[in-house]
Every structure is written in C-alpha cells, then in structure tokens.
C-alpha cells in the first residue's frame, strides 16, 4: 500500500499442517523409494539442468514432502529426465520416476494448469 511506504512481508514459514500433501502421496504410492532419500544432494550435483540453473532435485524432494507444491510446480518442468541422478543416488531412490510422477500429479490435479 503506497499509503504506508512499505508492505507486509509474507511469512516464509512452512506451515506443515496447512499444506496439501496430495502430490507427494500420489508419488509415494507409486514410487515408495522416495522415502529413502537422505537429502545428500548427490542428484543435484550430477544434474544436467543443475549445470545451467539453480535447479536442485534434493530441494524439490523436500518441498514436495513438506507440501510446498506451488514452488515445485514450475521448477519441476526444467528436468530433462536424463537419468544421471538415478545412477549417483547412494540410497537407490528412483529419482527420475519421482519427477515423472510429480509432473503427472500436477497435470491431474484440476486447477493446476501445467
């Protein structure tokens, strides 16, 4: 509001209970290996897209688990599905399928245009 010369800064807190985790449960039903992620960041390090941008699969996994879907919806499209992350994942998480299912989940949810 110009009247005050400043505006209310939006809270950055992740309100776990207010978030909707339908996307991550859609993924976990079909790809339970996502549970094994210990967020070591090896996938983000190997990432082809990560080479060009700040795209980080580790961060996406956590944001999905916390229900911060809006942040992920646009970012996830940057993945090239090249599969390098699967080869380096120390926990054997099928990271490529997680991205594939996430994209699917986002298109299936009405209201989420993709």
């Amino acid at each position: 509001m110009e009247k005050f010369g400043f505006s209310l800064t939006k809270a950055r807190v992740i309100d776990y209970d207010a978030n909707d985790r339908s996307i991550v449960s859609y993924i976990l039903e079909r790809e339970p290996s996502l549970n094994l992620c210990i967020e070591c960041g090896c996938c983000s390090a190997a990432c082809t897209t990560g080479n060009f941008t700040g795209f980080s699969l580790r961060e996406i996994h956590i944001l999905l688990k916390r229900g911060e879907n809006d942040l992920v919806r646009q970012k996830i499209r940057k993945c090239m599905l090249c599969g390098k992350c699967i080869l380096v994942c120390p926990r054997g998480v099928n990271t490529r399928n997680v991205v594939f299912l996430a994209k699917q989940a986002f298109t299936k949810n009405e209201g989420y245009e993709f």
């Binding site: 992740i14 992620c37 911060e68």
Partner: protein, 342 residues
C-alpha cells in the same frame, strides 16, 4: 586367600565385571546403591540394533553374578574410599567399611534432566516425554497420550542435553540417534496410521547395523527426517504441541503440530560418581566422565593406581561396548593384581 576386588555399581558393567572377576578366582563385593541390580537395562524394552528384548541381556548378566565368590551389597550408597598402600577401604552410607585389593568403578551414567531445556516444555506441556519415558511405556505395553487418544503424529527430538554449550555438554552422546530410530520404528509398529518425524542435526548412525536400521525406518515405516534443531515447543488451542524448527535443507522456518514429542536425552556422568570423584580426587575429563589414563591402551585406568573404571562412567557407551569394556577392565585388574600392583 585370593585378592578381593570391590566393584561399585551394579549395572551392566558392574555385573559383567563381577562375574568375570569371580570366575578369574577373585573374591568380589558388588555394591549397588539401588535396591536391585541391572541399572538402566531394567528400564529398556528392546535393544538396538536387532531389537532383542533387554530382559534377555539381564538374564545373561544375572547368570554372570550368581557365583559363590561374589557378595552382593544392594541398597548401599558408597560415600568414599581411602587408599593406603595397596589397600582400599570403601565406606558406605550406613557406616560399614569394606577392604579390598582393587577398586572397580562401574557407576554408569545418568540421563540428562530434560526439564533443564525449558523451551521444550518437558514437565510443563502434556505429551512431551523423554526416550526413557517412552521405553517405560513400551515395557508397560501402554503407549498413549495423556488424553488417552492415539497419537497421529509423533516427533523425536535429537541432541537434548548433548552437543549443547548452554547445558555444558558439548560432547555427542552417540546413542540417542540410533535409539530414536529404533523407537520410531517401534512406535510406528504400534500406531501404523501415525506419521513419525525425527528432528536431527546430524544422523550419527555409526555402529554395526545402525545404518540398516535407519534405512528400514525410512523404507518400511516411512519415518520422516527433518534436518534442524527444534528451537521451542508451545501448545495451540486444540491442545496439540507446536514445534518450531528451521528446515535447514530448505533454509526456511517450519512449524509442525505434534501429538507427542520424545526428547532424546543424552548421557551424563552420574551425579554420585561426580561427588565421589571430587572427594577422592579421581580425575574427570572436561565432559565430567572419568579421565582415562590413556585414550588408546588405558581406558580402564585413571590417575589413581589400583582404581579401575568400566562402562559408561568413562564415556557414552552402548550395551555391547559396556560389556566389552567391563571384560577389558577385568583383564587389567587381574594383570594389576598378579604383577605386584603397580
């Protein structure tokens, strides 16, 4: 007449050492301040890493101390000891004294008093319990909220009272991480519909089969792990706990409601041992555990010749390490007694 060893502390280390000493031909007096033996082992339900029942280990230890060379003195608090020449005279609470040729301190540990971390509201908010309380609930087969309802979301808070400058314990208590994961699995087994979270700074799962347990918790029980130390706990209007933490891997604060919060209290040197150490100038390390004569080949001895240590009074140890530490103490004592006590 075979040499006489006085063992102070009837926990895992004390019982194992007493049993081995007796079998090595020593006469042993085992002094335990509690009314029965077993120490903390009696409070645990299942033990990591294979989740066997703690009673089995207790039976084994009981078997160890049923030996004619062992005299049990339970319910006796040791007040001090005098060391003249090669003799030790230990005085107990009700005044009588015992003489011995060597002294083995197996005084074990105390769990950190979680109420000292006020911000977690232990003792102030309902359903904030410690890992020991949870083990007791497991033993009683009755894990429930104060309201009697089933918990839907359970949080485990690592590093309570350890790696924490504010409470004077900067050391890592090593076993709380694996205990948290083990308890997370057990809670999830009791409440399959619940969601369990562990709030950790670092997952220190260094022992044998610990990492496998960690993976099993993720894979079979979908336990969630959030990297961040909870700063404070409050209660919201529908009487649910609200934990505030920063999800450091996302770099943003996170607020989560919990039905039950389990504080993984770390191990500290037992208070009685500290008092005893001060009176008898047994050197203690900066972490208040007995200072070993040497970190590699002298962890059973301290600064006083003839006084030996065994178990968690020297450092946080799990049951396996405690038993092996007790056995090495016995070899040290036998060696000490046989080679002219130097």
């Amino acid at each position: 007449m075979n040499p006489h060893v006085i063992v102070i502390g009837g926990g895992t280390a004390g019982m194992e050492a007493a049993g081995r000493l007796a079998r090595a031909g020593m006469s042993v007096t085992l002094i335990e301040k509690g009314k029965d033996l077993g120490g903390h082992l009696r409070d645990w339900y299942h033990l990591f890493p294979d989740r066997r029942s703690s009673d089995e280990v207790l039976e084994y230890l009981k078997g160890q101390i049923s030996h004619q060379n062992i005299r049990l003195l339970t319910g006796q608090q040791v007040t001090g000891f005098i060391h003249k020449g090669n003799e030790f005279t230990v005085s107990t609470g009700n005044g009588d004294t015992i003489n011995g040729d060597a002294l083995l301190l197996a005084t074990g540990f105390d769990l950190f008093k979680s109420e000292r971390k006020e911000e977690y509201g232990y003792g102030i908010y309902e359903n904030v319990i410690t890992s020991a309380d949870l083990e007791a609930m497991f033993r009683k087969k009755e894990v429930k909220l104060v309201s009697g309802k089933k918990p839907e979301r359970i949080g485990f808070l690592h590093c309570v009272g350890s790696r924490d400058e504010k409470v004077g314990n900067i050391y890592c208590s090593k076993l709380c991480c694996v205990t948290a994961v083990k308890q997370a699995i057990e809670v999830k087994k009791i409440f399959p519909a619940s969601k369990v979270f562990c709030f950790y700074m670092d997952m220190r799962m260094g022992g044998a089969l610990y990492e496998e347990l960690y993976k099993e918790a993720q894979e079979k029980y979908s336990v969630g792990f959030i990297r961040g130390k909870v700063s404070e706990v409050a209660v919201n209007i529908n009487n649910r706990l609200v934990a505030k933490v920063e999800d450091t891997l996302v770099g943003r604060p996170l607020k989560m409601e919990l039905d039950m919060l389990v504080l993984m209290a770390g191990m500290e040197m037992s208070e009685d041992a500290v008092r005893l150490a001060k009176e008898t100038n047994l050197q203690m390390g900066e972490n208040r555990f007995f200072k070993p004569a040497d970190h590699h080949f002298g962890t059973n001895m301290g600064n006083v010749n003839g006084v030996f240590y065994a178990g968690a009074c020297t450092a946080p140890l799990n049951i396996t390490e405690t038993i092996s530490h007790a056995r090495s103490a016995v070899t040290e004592i036998v060696n000490y007694l046989n080679t002219g006590r130097k």
